[in-house]
């Protein structure tokens, strides 16, 4: 049973949170045993948040110790090499607690601000996103875990045979590699995928560590989960190597009983609760809802372990 909390810091019409407020919230969630917090910062309209998700995550990494930290970052806003570097670096800063939430939905606002006024067609966007994610994962494996030798006397900092080029040449990108950031402490940062539609399912079940689904009913969630697991198996993965979390948006109080029965019938591995990022909502969640969720064993049952992968019970390495 896994538990994630999503904050869309950029959504309009909510409080502007400062770093102290956000970090206090995340630390309380950590104390309550929440597995991970997912920071998303893409808004349909203008955002009022002072922060961008990956920079905020770096700062949060230095004031938390166990909770997983996931940031959304779009495939339009960064070049894959730069994004791979950012997350690899975040993973080292957090001692292995970081994930990237790659959303497979195109945000037209982003296209308009990133020199793509017309955006991409759906098909192009999807093929581009798949290529992009593959590059990022490939770059994360540039260095073997034992590549760094630190041999001062012998004069070898790293083993040249344990550093790998990527040499990717695809439809949208050409990336030589290797990454100039060391191997992630959890092997590779956790890859979270969200915003999937039907056609993305194969890709997601092949590549993702965590999949966020947002089905409207327990039945639909059950069907989607079973489908994803089946596809993961077909792709040669252990079905339980993919965590499926049901995303639930809540206005104020999470309906504990409802969640409990929903979880039982959805076949999911846990929940991702989307909270409005304003102070009263966060306070209500940490002061009232979290203790109750915890008492009922909904939060705080994550496996123990230093990294986010270990916490989620995911094997090292993710999908290949």
């Amino acid at each position: 049973m896994h538990f994630a909390v999503s904050l869309n810091i950029a959504a309009t019409g909510q409080d502007v949170l400062d770093f102290g407020q956000i970090s206090a919230f995340v630390r309380q969630a950590e104390a309550a045993g929440v597995d991970m917090v997912i920071i998303s910062d893409v808004a349909e309209g203008p955002s009022t948040s002072p922060f961008e998700a990956t920079t905020l995550l770096a700062a949060l990494a230095t004031v938390t110790y166990r909770i997983g930290l996931v940031a959304s970052a779009s495939t339009l806003a960064h070049q894959p090499y730069n994004l791979a570097r950012r997350f690899a670096s975040l993973d080292i800063i957090s001692h292995g607690r970081v994930g990237w939430n790659a959303t497979l939905r195109q945000n037209p606002r982003e296209a308009a601000n990133f020199s793509r006024p017309e955006g991409f067609s759906d098909g192009d966007f999807r093929r581009r996103a798949e290529e992009y994610i593959g590059i990022v994962q490939g770059l994360w494996r540039s260095w073997d875990g034992d590549a760094l030798l630190f041999d001062k006397a012998g004069g070898r900092f790293h083993d040249p045979d344990r550093m790998h080029m990527l040499d990717h040449k695809g439809e949208f990108f050409a990336v030589r590699g290797p990454l100039n950031v060391a191997r992630s402490p959890q092997d590779t940062p956790v890859l979270v995928m969200s915003g999937l539609n039907e056609t993305d399912r194969d890709f997601a079940s092949r590549g993702a560590d965590v999949i966020l689904i947002a089905e409207q009913s327990a039945d639909a969630a059950n069907a989607a989960t079973a489908d994803l697991r089946r596809r993961a198996l077909a792709a040669g993965r252990k079905p339980e190597g993919v965590m499926v979390l049901l995303t639930v948006a809540i206005e104020s109080e999470p309906p504990i009983d409802g969640l409990r029965s929903l979880l039982g019938s959805s076949g999911c591995d846990g929940f991702n609760l989307v909270l409005p990022a304003d102070v009263p909502a966060l306070q209500n969640f940490t002061d009232r809802a979290l203790p109750e969720l915890r008492r009922d064993g909904l939060a705080g049952r994550g496996q123990q372990g230093a990294t986010l992968r270990a916490r989620l019970g995911l094997g090292t390495g993710g999908a290949k």
């Binding site: 502007v16 203008p46 905020l56 090499y81 570097r85 006024p117 004069g155 040249p160 990108f173 060391a182």
Partner: protein
């Protein structure tokens, strides 16, 4: 009217600036994967009242030859914006400046990222604009190779216009040669209004862009005369953009090695020099000269004639000038270069180092310095405990921060 005071930046570089720093017995060899190391360095610099820490960056390896690369510590490290974001909440006063490339980013994204760093730090962020001269980086962003110098600068100019427009809340909408941006920036301004703009390109294009946009300029110079000429040149370009000489702080790099006696300092330097493998030194020199095969020339012979680079024009010129001036062989030049990549090196006591810095500061060759410790943490500690107090005694450097933001430290106006 307070006396004019020196600005000091700490140029961070994992294990240190000397190419063999990582092999020093006390160097923190795991620096590139140890955030605590950087937090410690930033706090040391903050306790010494440095204006800022500065992170260089390249979106790729530094060295093409894997065998050479593996004999240096330069192939892995932190991505600097995430590093500085972590430092932002682990420090209180010191400025946080990161390099980011105009060639491999988009202005809207970078504007948001730096605005976020600026907000996280309470107004202490700065951006070092670079055009990225390395073909190794270029290969990570497409198959077409390094674009010509002039094209990179044209893109950089447009980038700077767009990003400052976004930071300064200019009306939205840009549709230009390289970029189109529809919306205004959606991150509220920080206490310093906008991140500080830094530039370090020293070609003609680079200096013009700096004169137009930069608050701080980094440079590399060996002699007083070179430093002075650069200073005059750059400050002289400001008027054309309606700016005053004091609007831009020029901070050349300096790599000091300090000890209680000159002999002791020299011995520290010599010990580091002993740790440089010849092929590593020559490869480093080659990369800054933008020549791939310097190794095929006799190592004890002179530097060959070189075609003008499409990479780092200014550094190439500086090195060639030094080789000719001092009549250095490739080996000698490479060994010297390995110490601080062409930046000014001073080996001596705190008084001697303070004398030299004072001379350039008061002689119109610098507004401050970008300090490049040979290895970390030892040479930073030595500079902070020996040289900084000497500069303070002479009234050349602050004893405490006067304000909160990086603009405050540098005496820069808040942008409107």
């Amino acid at each position: 009217m307070t006396a004019r005071r020196m600005k000091l930046g700490l140029f961070l570089w994992a294990t240190g600036h000397h190419i063999a720093a990582w092999r020093h017995p006390d160097a923190h060899v795991t620096a590139g994967i140890d955030i605590e190391h950087y937090i410690q360095l930033a706090r040391t610099a903050e306790a010494a009242k440095f204006d800022m820490v500065f992170c260089e960056d390249a979106a790729g390896l530094r060295e093409a030859n894997v065998n050479i690369a593996s004999q240096t510590s330069r192939s892995i490290g932190f991505e600097p914006i995430s590093l500085l974001s972590a430092l932002a909440v682990q420090t209180e006063r010191i400025g946080l400046v990161s390099t980011a490339s105009t060639s491999y980013n988009e202005p809207y994204g970078l504007a948001r990222t730096f605005a976020s760093l600026d907000n996280l730090s309470g107004g202490r962020a700065g951006w070092n604009l670079v055009t990225s001269a390395s073909p190794i980086e270029a290969a990570n962003f497409g198959a077409t190779g390094l674009r010509p110098h002039a094209d990179r600068y044209a893109r950089a100019c447009e980038f700077a216009t767009v990003i400052t427009g976004l930071w300064h809340r200019k009306p939205a909408g840009h549709d230009g040669e390289s970029f189109s941006v529809r919306d205004p920036l959606d991150v509220p301004p920080s206490p310093q209004g906008a991140p500080v703009m830094v530039q370090a390109g020293a070609s003609d294009d680079g200096k013009d862009l700096a004169a137009r946009t930069a608050d701080v300029v980094f440079s590399a110079a060996q002699t007083f005369e070179e430093a002075r000429a650069f200073y005059d040149d750059l400050k002289g370009r400001l008027a054309a953009y309606g700016r005053q000489p004091d609007d831009v702080k020029i901070m050349p790099g300096v790599a000091p090695i300090v000890a209680a006696t000159k002999a002791e300092a020299q011995a520290k330097y010599d010990a580091l020099q002993e740790l440089i493998p010849d092929d590593v030194g020559v490869a480093l020199l080659s990369s800054y000269l933008s020549i791939s095969d310097l190794g095929r020339y006799p190592i004890d012979g002179p530097l060959p004639e070189l075609p003008e680079s499409e990479g780092m024009k200014s550094r190439q010129a500086l090195v060639i000038e030094q080789a000719r001036r001092d009549g250095l062989s490739i080996r000698e030049l490479a060994r010297y270069f390995a110490g601080a990549r062409g930046h000014w090196r001073i080996v001596g006591t705190a008084e001697e180092i303070a004398d030299e810095l004072q001379e350039r500061f008061e002689g119109g060759a610098a507004d401050g310095f970008n300090v490049m410790p040979s290895w970390f943490p030892g040479e930073l500690d030595a500079f902070a405990t020996l040289v900084v107090p000497e500069l303070q005694r002479r009234g050349l450097f602050r004893r405490d921060y006067e304000g909160r933001t990086l603009r405050d430290h540098l005496g820069l106006k808040r942008p409107i």
